[in-house]
């Protein structure tokens, strides 16, 4: 579990590789990667909460949406500078995370997942009804100020954000706090029986997840320049986040990153082959089969494959 120099070297190689990428690939690919970066941030946020503690969130778009809407409204309607609207959006998302947390005091499992789903649907309906002059109602807001222009700049921005989030979450989850959060997912009673205040631990997990979700959501809206309720508070968006985390490998940091890139590129590479509606059918089908085959994700498959190669080598050696 400890941090070894190999880990840090792997991070360094990964970051250098990605930073050099714009020299080698097309703008189109960069745009795809930008989406993968944002998806990775959302998936990491989901995983910190649900992958670790086992409290499955079906309402993550709720947290992301609060971040995105707060920043969009503050900057577009009230003329706040982005440097101020994003931190405020993160705070708002964390307040939203506290709302999420209240039911987790009493319920878990399927019931908890359902409340979070209800939160998301509630938000979807409220955004359209309450003060549509501010939220933009069903049509949302367009013309939100963007931070930077062009694929290359946005690539650097989104990648740096993703790498920062991933690296700090990795450090956090390597700490004893990360161990304790994973332990909650395995057996909450035993964590309590070890003398730890599980309420405090869960609150920490919810706050961290909401922080990351709010941050990602706010930057995302300033990248897209627009926001609409159906695009955010939507089961398909939720599906993409959860599947990215699970297909990559829950309870790791690299897993959600792999998952996000895998899903985004799968959809992109299917485009020339299957231009029509088949694409989403095949895409979902692949996700389902992969999940059924190994619920622990691609990372686990790779790890087991590596283990087998090692074992075969050891067998051949002796």
């Amino acid at each position: 579990m400890g941090i070894r120099w190999q880990h840090l070297a792997a991070w360094a190689v990964f970051i250098i590789f990605m930073l050099a990428l714009p020299e080698f690939v097309s703008k189109g690919t960069l745009r795809t990667i930008i989406f993968a970066n944002f998806l990775a941030i959302f998936a990491i946020s989901w995983d910190v909460l649900s992958g670790r503690t086992g409290y499955i969130s079906f309402g993550h778009p709720f947290l992301i949406g609060i971040g995105a809407y707060t920043s969009a409204i503050l900057s577009y309607r009230f003329g706040f500078p982005i440097a101020l609207s994003i931190p405020l959006a993160v705070v708002a998302a964390m307040i939203g995370g506290t709302l999420f947390f209240l039911p987790a005091l009493r319920i878990r499992g399927s019931y908890f997942a359902l409340v979070t789903l209800a939160f998301m649907e509630l938000m979807y309906q409220l955004v359209q009804v309450i003060r549509p002059d501010i939220t933009g109602g069903t049509r949302g807001i367009s013309g939100v100020e963007t931070i930077t222009r062009g694929a290359v700049n946005n690539f650097y921005l989104s990648f740096c954000l993703m790498a920062l989030v991933a690296f700090s979450m990795w450090l956090l989850m390597k700490s004893r706090l990360g161990t304790a959060l994973s332990a909650i997912g395995m057996n909450e009673e035993s964590v309590r029986g070890s003398g730890l205040d599980t309420t405090k631990l869960k609150l920490a997990a919810f706050m961290i997840a909401a922080f990351v979700a709010g941050l990602g959501g706010a930057f995302y809206v300033h990248y897209l320049g627009s926001i609409a309720p159906r695009a955010l508070f939507d089961i398909n968006f939720l599906f993409t986040i959860i599947v990215a985390a699970l297909i990559g490998g829950a309870s790791t940091i690299i897993g959600p990153m792999i998952g996000a890139f895998f899903l985004t590129f799968l959809l992109e590479y299917l485009r020339p082959v299957l231009p029509g509606a088949e694409r989403y059918f095949i895409y979902g089908g692949i996700a389902l089969i992969l999940y059924m085959y190994q619920p622990k994700g691609i990372y686990e498959v790779a790890k087991q494959g590596w283990g087998r190669i090692q074992a075969a080598r050891a067998g051949a050696g002796s």
Binding site: R176, L177, S182, G193, S194, K200
Partner: protein, 243 residues
Amino acid sequence: MSYPLELRDVVKRFGGLTATDNMSFRVEDGESLGLIGPNGAGKTTIFSLIMGEHRQTSGSILCNGEDISALPTYARIGRGVCRTYQVPRPFADMDVMENIRLGLMPNNLWQMLVRGPNHDREIELALSVGFAEGDLKRHPAELSMGDLRKLELARTLATGPSIMLLDEVFAGLTAGEISQIAELINQKRKEGMTLIIVSHDLKSLEPLIDRAIAMNYGAIVAEGDFAHVMADPDVRAAYLGGE
């Protein structure tokens, strides 16, 4: 005069069922108390009440003279009370050392973040309950029932208790494992640990305790030294299921 642990008129009802009926007893410092009785007598409920996993309907529980009745479980563990379970509850995806790590963690988020795990202490605890060096990286699925009980003992000992509540520590063990665990309990007694032990295995329990309390239907039937309690006609009736 305060005791490490004292129950005063504790009543616990689950709906219409009275699981604990006006229980009062106390444990002396460094004493080892055996809690016996047929299935459903309410022994495990007593442990849950002491740990705060359930709240008593009325009455109070005192630890070193302080009323801990309203405290959450982690605060009671912080005051040196801990328990093991009839069915061990390890963390399935963690190895032996990581399981023990949970017990060693301070209940303080900042400390958990900035300080790394104390591997030496983890190893020391694992070895002290009888694990071999080679077992340290094993996962619960690879361990025997005896090892799982040892693991749970190590994790609870890691919280630094002065009173341990042991629930059916001998259940499902081989004769060899029983003597190993008994040895361990005896050692803790010598070190001055206060103990309450629940067991159906009276033969193994007898040498480990100073005093026994027999329960039936949530109430105390007899109390005193082991031979005296076992000679009590009500206790015999309860065990034989007499009318």
